[in-house]
């Protein structure tokens, strides 16, 4: 064969190898903004994602091995703790805040209702060590994992040796958390030109843009900021929100704006889960004046008909593909079958 032809074939093969996304590469939805997570420090690897997935569903992370991350973050409810106002910990301990849905985490710079956590890689340490949640300590978890042949094998496959260190442990969980991308709702199909809103959904969308979008900004449906929404402080919880972190009066009773994606499945609502139904939330906002973190004063007025139309639009944010994504579900084969063989 002509040398020139061989050269071009090789060039084409190399180009495809470099241009085509790897199996486990993070693919940003076209209509989403730039991500905040630094992927360079933690390049995706399917073996590391596998570890993260196993750990997420494994109660080994809690002190008495009774609860896992998934206990409060179920994949079938957008990784929220449906029907539970406050998070549950080991020994029936009750936390102080609602376990939020987990999705599109690569776009967040801080985590938790008060933004106490400043990087996704260290997020898992908070529930892991919280007395009201898993009540473990990092050293003990790493000891347990380093005693497990199952995990040592997984880490060896992913990292080349079987040492389970803090950074490998946390970066693996992070890789799995980053897989939780919800961008396949009807809203997304409309944005991508593959579907159209019904008339009612369209009306609801206009109402949303007029009244809600300042805080629940598209396409993540959160402005990622801390806002106060005139909810009275629960005297039993006495939760002052973001002010606990910054100790600035301006952050008093400000909480991170939750996404509205998959809202059907993430009830109860608000930072303390005080509202069980979406209707209650809309009722709270039907005649309200709010001061946003940008010092904008906004007035919201929603009559009953508008609330119905708005609800129709909010339902277009439900993402069934995300909820039933098999790669995010409990890893039966890994945790049940392989583990038995290994332990």
């Amino acid at each position: 064969m002509n040398k020139g032809v061989i050269f071009f074939i090789l060039l084409a093969v190399f180009s495809i190898a470099f241009i085509a996304p790897l199996e486990s590469e993070f693919i940003k939805p076209a209509h989403f903004p730039k991500t905040k997570y630094n992927f360079q420090n933690n390049p995706f690897d399917s073996n590391k994602i596998n570890i993260g997935r196993a750990l997420f569903y494994d109660p080994i992370l809690s002190k008495d091995s009774t609860i896992s991350c998934a206990s409060c973050h179920s994949n079938y409810t957008a990784f929220a703790h449906v029907d539970h106002a406050l998070s549950h910990g080991i020994a029936d301990r009750i936390g102080i805040r609602n376990a939020p849905g987990l999705m599109n985490l690569a776009w967040h710079e801080n985590f938790m209702w008060d933004g106490a956590i400043n990087n996704l890689e260290v997020q898992s340490l908070a529930p892991l060590t919280n007395h009201l949640e898993m009540d473990e300590n990092l050293n003990h978890v790493l000891e347990k994992l380093n005693r497990s042949f199952f995990y040592k094998n997984l880490f060896k496959k992913a990292y080349g040796d079987d040492i389970i260190s803090t950074d490998r442990f946390l970066k693996s969980i992070t890789q799995f958390l980053l897989q939780m991308v919800s961008a396949s709702a009807k809203y997304d199909s409309v944005k991508n030109g593959n579907a159209i809103f019904t008339l009612q959904e369209k009306k609801g969308y206009h109402i949303f843009k007029k009244n809600c979008a300042v805080c629940h900004t598209e396409p993540l449906f959160t402005n990622l900021k801390f806002e106060q929404n005139n909810l009275p402080v629960d005297p039993n919880l006495n939760d002052m929100g973001r002010m606990r972190i910054t100790q600035s009066a301006k952050d008093s009773i400000c909480f991170k704006v939750p996404t509205l994606r998959n809202i059907t499945f993430t009830f109860p609502y608000m930072h303390d889960g005080r509202m069980r139904k979406l209707q209650e939330v809309l009722h709270h906002y039907e005649n309200i004046e709010l001061l946003t973190s940008n010092h904008k004063r906004i007035k919201i007025k929603l009559n009953k008909l508008e609330q119905v139309d708005l609800t129709a639009f909010l339902l277009t944010l439900d993402d069934q593909k995300f909820l039933f994504n098999p790669t995010l579900a409990f890893p039966k084969e890994l945790l049940l079958m392989n583990r038995r063989k290994n332990e």
Partner: protein, 228 residues
């Protein structure tokens, strides 16, 4: 070129590299910082017993006037001040410097950088999991009064007005050894006078204590010791 010739050239390049490396190592000067505290003074009248004292010393930089000439590759040194090991730097022999600058505590960029290793591994116990951030230093102990009173100061915070990191600068010169003295007495007296026995989170009082420690940190040249 035959294989034998290739092999010879590889050996030659390897030898040259080894020689260059050896020269570089041989031509470095060591600057050593011994670390000490004023706990001996605290113990004199048996009024205070320190049970824990750990500190992050970070971002050591050496300057000649205002020009940065050498930067510590090891970003952070976590030191147990109850049993401190000296901190030593190998600086190229041709470099001239007259000032060292370092931080007591971990800077904000490092605090938000995600999970880190070595001395910055959260396993070291100097990390707040509930509110991401490093504890710049810990001082724990018991005050022996009529009623024993425990005290715990976990001083940290990196953001805005709660940033407790402190920068210290001292005059230093090549081929010398120095003692960095961390004098906790003023800080401790200040806190105890206010009946402030616990600080366990980022707050303005923590910043105040960090400043007091920084202001009472000194660097003195070690006399009558031959250089290595």
């Amino acid at each position: 070129m035959n294989i034998g010739m290739c092999f010879k050239r590889i050996i030659l390049v390897f030898l040259c590299c080894t020689s260059l490396y050896s020269n570089a190592v041989a031509q470095s000067q060591k600057v050593t910082f011994f670390l000490q505290t004023d706990f001996d003074q605290l113990y004199l009248n048996d009024s205070v017993k320190i049970s824990k004292c750990a500190i992050y010393l970070t971002n050591f930089k050496f300057y000649n006037q205002s020009e940065l000439v050498f930067e510590d590759a090891n970003q952070a040194h976590l030191v147990d001040l109850l049993d401190p090991s000296p901190i030593q730097f190998n600086i190229p022999v041709n470099l001239v410097y007259n000032r060292v600058v370092f931080n007591i505590g971990v800077d904000s960029n490092t605090n938000v950088a995600g999970i880190l290793t070595g001395d910055l591994d959260p396993r070291e116990g100097m990390y707040w999991a509930w509110q991401s951030g490093y504890i710049n230093f810990k001082l724990e102990g018991i005050l022996n009064a009529k009623v024993q009173q425990a005290f715990q100061y976990h001083i940290g915070g990196y953001a805005g007005k709660l940033n407790a990191i402190q920068t210290n600068a001292f005059e230093v010169y090549p081929n010398n050894k120095y003692t960095l003295s961390f004098n906790f007495m003023p800080m401790l007296q200040y806190a105890l006078a206010q009946k402030q026995f616990e600080i366990m989170s980022p707050q303005l009082k923590a910043v105040q204590l960090a400043k007091l420690l920084s202001e009472n940190t000194t660097c003195t040249k070690v006399q009558n010791l031959s250089n290595e």
